[in-house]
């Protein structure tokens, strides 16, 4: 998903020479968007830090009880928490969980949303009407409340968290995919695929979905921050990721409880979390402009 890998994965050398492929155009537009590039770079740095940083810093469980909670210093860049644990490595470890929730839950939402939307759009008629009416109704439901209920009653299991969040966030994706599928359904190459006698599943997944990847990528990038926000919201209420595991939501909750004496426990995790959301949103907006996805959803 990072912008540096996006074109090289899709664009072949010949296409670069002619320079008229959709992906090449999009990449050159994206490169000119300074905010989006900054967002992408920040994300890359944060992701690398969270992925590999913990191999080099102290373990998040290492305690220095003599120190207790101490402010930022040379030894502990972002200070330590009340149990004498290094905050920087805790943020990195928490970031792993937060980002994992962001990616896995988004993937769940993506899988449900794309399939649902594609089926509704492809078959049309009554099937479409019923399926989209269900989506309309679900839009109006207080889903956060249901996620809370699920987490409370069925134990605060991290895998349940992935699926609960994913099951909530697929609605917009389904709407977008349906709209796109309808708009390309009557195109000649789909007719050709039909005329060749290809199965419905093959037409949808091999011929239609690759052609609407643009909007799918854009809304995936915009779903990740929404998912991470929901995870942190639940963790803040004590319903998401459970200690001793930590996520940014857990760290923010801890920090908010102790901020009166130890401001850094709130400010740094909150800052890193907001920075991540910023980067994702800027990158998503940039991709939307670059891939020329109109903001209208149907």
């Amino acid at each position: 998903m990072s912008p540096t890998t996006l074109p090289s994965a899709v664009v072949t050398p010949e296409q670069i020479e002619t320079g008229n492929s959709l992906w090449y155009d999009a990449w050159s537009r994206l490169r000119k968007n300074r905010l989006a590039v900054c967002g992408g770079a920040t994300l890359l740095v944060l992701a690398l830090l969270c992925a590999f940083g913990p191999f080099f810093t102290q373990s998040y469980q290492d305690q220095n009880l003599d120190l207790g909670a101490s402010g930022p210093s040379a030894a502990h860049w972002l200070g330590t928490d009340t149990l004498g644990r290094d905050l920087f490595s805790r943020i990195l470890f928490g970031g792993r969980i937060s980002m994992m929730v962001g990616l896995v839950a988004t993937f769940v939402a993506l899988a449900i949303g794309v399939t649902y939307g594609a089926v509704a759009g492809f078959f049309g008629g009554k099937i479409d009407a019923v399926m989209m009416r269900i989506v309309d109704i679900m839009y109006a439901l207080p889903f956060t409340i249901f996620v809370i209920l699920l987490m409370v009653f069925f134990g605060r299991n991290i895998f349940l968290l992935f699926f609960a969040i994913g099951a909530v966030e697929w609605l917009t994706m389904a709407r977008i995919v349906r709209g796109q599928i309808i708009s390309i359904k009557k195109m000649e190459y789909i007719e050709a695929a039909r005329a060749l006698g290809l199965g419905k599943r093959r037409i949808i997944f091999r011929h239609m979905i690759p052609n609407i990847l643009g909007p799918i990528i854009v809304y995936t990038t915009l779903t990740i921050p929404a998912v991470m926000l929901l995870e942190a919201f639940l963790s803040f209420l004590g319903l998401g990721v459970q200690p001793p595991m930590s996520s940014w939501g857990v760290l923010i909750k801890d920090g908010a409880e102790k901020m009166e004496e130890f401001w850094w426990l709130l400010v740094f995790p909150g800052g890193v979390f907001s920075l991540t959301l910023f980067s994702l949103n800027f990158l998503g907006d940039g991709l939307r402009d670059a891939l020329d996805v109109r903001s209208s959803k149907d």
Partner: protein, 305 residues
């Protein structure tokens, strides 16, 4: 118009029925009852408790009993607060949450529409950049970071306001500002987008050509069309403010229904959880209906879509 409203009203009934039934059975299939957390009681006392609340009847019987009393507007007794009914608890706590919600919504609309209109009218000026980046900050700094930061700054550092509580009018400032800010940001973005689209339309040029003043063009002609995206956002926005109040009420220790809901879920207070979910679901579904009707009233073209 009337037919549309009526049809949507009829749709509400099955939706609410599904929500109530799903929640009811979800809660009952969960391991552990409302009395398991309490200090060990003898089996006899447990049986008496269950008999008193009707928990020893077959499940379908409990379901029909509950639906029956629900139709009479009775949400049953609370399991965790002896001698109190769910109706009483909701009646006690709901006004606080409603007050929080309405002030926050007002804050969000005022700040959001003002910033968004300013940004659209002075497009690509420094004012636009300031408004747009403020909106981005509002979207990316979640309430549970913003709230504690406000407390840290205004209550602990400057000591202008109380850090928590819900007594005097000044106690309303921080919670409502925190909850309102996020939605103000969304509303500002939507207003800017909607206004930009409208300001390019022919009828705006006509109004300008006829010599209408800029204020008149903006407020009289453009704003009504430009606010359409904001109206359609109000449905999800209101739902968000309702659920957002869970966090706000926790941070600022406000005795509202949101905090009560989270506590009751932790305590497995079946009837209170059910009652609160039913109330929130009905509120959200009904408000969505109102938003839909207002939208069609503002933009009759939508009726044919």
């Amino acid at each position: 118009m009337l037919r549309f409203t009526f049809r949507r009203l009829l749709q509400i009934i099955p939706v609410l029925w599904i929500i109530i039934t799903a929640t009811f059975f979800m809660i009952r299939f969960v391991p552990g009852g409302p009395f398991t957390a309490e200090k060990a009681v003898t089996p006899e006392i447990l049986r008496n408790l269950e008999a008193h609340y009707g928990l020893n009847k077959p499940l379908y019987q409990q379901y029909f009993d509950y639906m029956g009393s629900l139709l009479r507007g009775d949400l049953g007794p609370s399991f965790k607060y002896p001698n109190r009914t769910v109706n009483e608890i909701i009646g006690d706590k709901l006004p606080t949450s409603l007050e929080l919600g309405f002030i926050s919504l007002a804050v969000a609309l005022t700040i959001g529409i003002t910033l968004g209109t300013l940004a659209a009218v002075k497009r690509n000026s420094w004012l636009d950049y300031i408004c747009s980046s403020t909106a981005m900050i509002g979207i990316c700094v979640p309430t549970f970071v913003l709230g504690p930061l406000f407390v840290l700054t205004f209550a602990i550092h400057f000591q202008w306001l109380n850090a928590s509580g819900w007594y005097g009018p000044s106690d309303r400032i921080l919670p409502c500002l925190t909850l309102g800010c996020v939605y103000a940001a969304y509303i500002a973005r939507l207003t800017r987008g909607g206004m930009l689209e409208v300001l390019n339309q022919d009828y705006i040029r006509t109004a300008r050509a006829k010599g209408a003043s800029e204020t008149r063009v903006v407020f009289k002609h453009a704003l009504r069309g430009g606010l359409l995206p904001v109206v359609s956002f109000l449905g999800p926005g209101i739902a968000g403010i309702l659920t957002g109040s869970f966090v706000i009420e926790t941070i600022f220790q406000i005795p509202g229904l949101g905090r009560e809901f989270v506590n009751s879920a932790f305590n497995r207070d079946y009837t209170l959880v059910l009652g609160t979910v039913i109330l929130y679901a009905s509120l959200i579904v009904i408000l969505n209906l109102v938003v839909d009707v207002v939208q069609i009233w503002l933009n009759p073209k939508l009726k044919f879509e």
